[in-house]
């Protein structure tokens, strides 16, 4: 059963993908209290770490949970370590694009 957090995360990922043509994938990292997304965006500058930004809940925008978002380049996917406390890449689920 898909959790409320994952449902909200999928809404967020889909909305982000609609406005960002350079987006290649969105990963959801596990959490029971916040949406933790890593977005793979080929227009990002390269980096040596994943730097998440933490946003407050936005019930008015349909996101009733706190969210965290980090942007990386395609070649950094699975190469850079997730932020502390986010678990591993193997625990993350790709939520956009959805599998065929």
């Amino acid at each position: 059963m898909i959790s409320e957090i994952e449902l909200a995360a999928r809404r967020l990922a889909t909305a982000n993908a609609e406005s960002e043509p350079n987006l290649e994938a969105v990963y959801l990292f596990p959490s029971d209290h916040q949406i933790r997304l890593v977005e793979v965006d080929r227009s990002m500058s390269s980096s040596d770490m994943i730097l998440p930004f933490y946003f407050p809940p936005d019930p008015e925008g349909g996101i009733p949970f706190p969210s965290a978002l980090a942007l990386i380049r395609p070649e950094e996917e699975r190469r850079l370590s997730p932020p502390d406390g986010w678990g591993t890449w193997d625990e993350a689920r790709r939520i956009w694009p959805e599998d065929e």
Partner: protein, 171 residues
């Protein structure tokens, strides 16, 4: 109430920004020597704001020592619908265009921070350029950093909106 790392950074960013606004009013009132000080406070404010938002609201860790927090922040907040509304952009696409137009200036503000021993124009310390020693108070910074320019006015409106969404008084 004790601070979190986030609230402490954002609070200091707000104080730096208040100082920036004070100095900017005096600069625009005819004190040209204040330009470097204005830019210094603007750079510090945006860096602390961005770093603050890299820490969780509750029990977050100390922000990392990165030099490109503000430009990355400007990228990431494209996804904030709350900030989109605050910036009065009707759609996510409009908000993306709005922020894309501000990114070059965000990079310029970020690059004002003196980095190590590299000699480059900055609003804080003297530097050497082609054998000449230059000082911020006399330096003519890029016209892009002129506070009367439309792009800079738009940037300051964006920063104010960020404080309304992420600031210490944000709901």
């Amino acid at each position: 109430m004790p601070h979190t790392w986030r609230s402490a950074f954002v609070k200091q960013a707000e104080a730096d920004y208040a100082m920036f606004l004070l100095l900017k009013d005096q600069l625009l009132g005819g004190e040209p020597g204040l330009r470097c000080h204005c830019l210094h406070y603007l750079q510090m404010s945006t860096e602390k704001l961005a770093k603050g938002v890299t820490s969780e609201m509750e029990g977050g860790q100390r922000p990392p020592r990165v030099h490109d927090a503000f430009s990355k922040f400007t990228w990431a907040v494209k996804r904030s619908r709350k900030l989109q509304r605050e910036c009065q952009c009707g759609t996510p696409q409009q908000f993306k265009q709005y922020l894309d137009s501000l990114l070059p200036l965000a990079n310029q503000i970020e690059d004002l921070a003196p980095v190590g021993s590299v000699d480059q124009p900055n609003p804080e310390y003297p530097w050497e350029e082609k054998g000449d020693i230059l000082t911020p108070v006399e330096y003519r910074f890029s016209d892009d950093l002129d506070f009367k320019r439309p792009k800079m006015i738009k940037m300051l409106q964006f920063i104010s909106a960020c404080f309304r969404v992420f600031g210490s008084d944000a709901g």
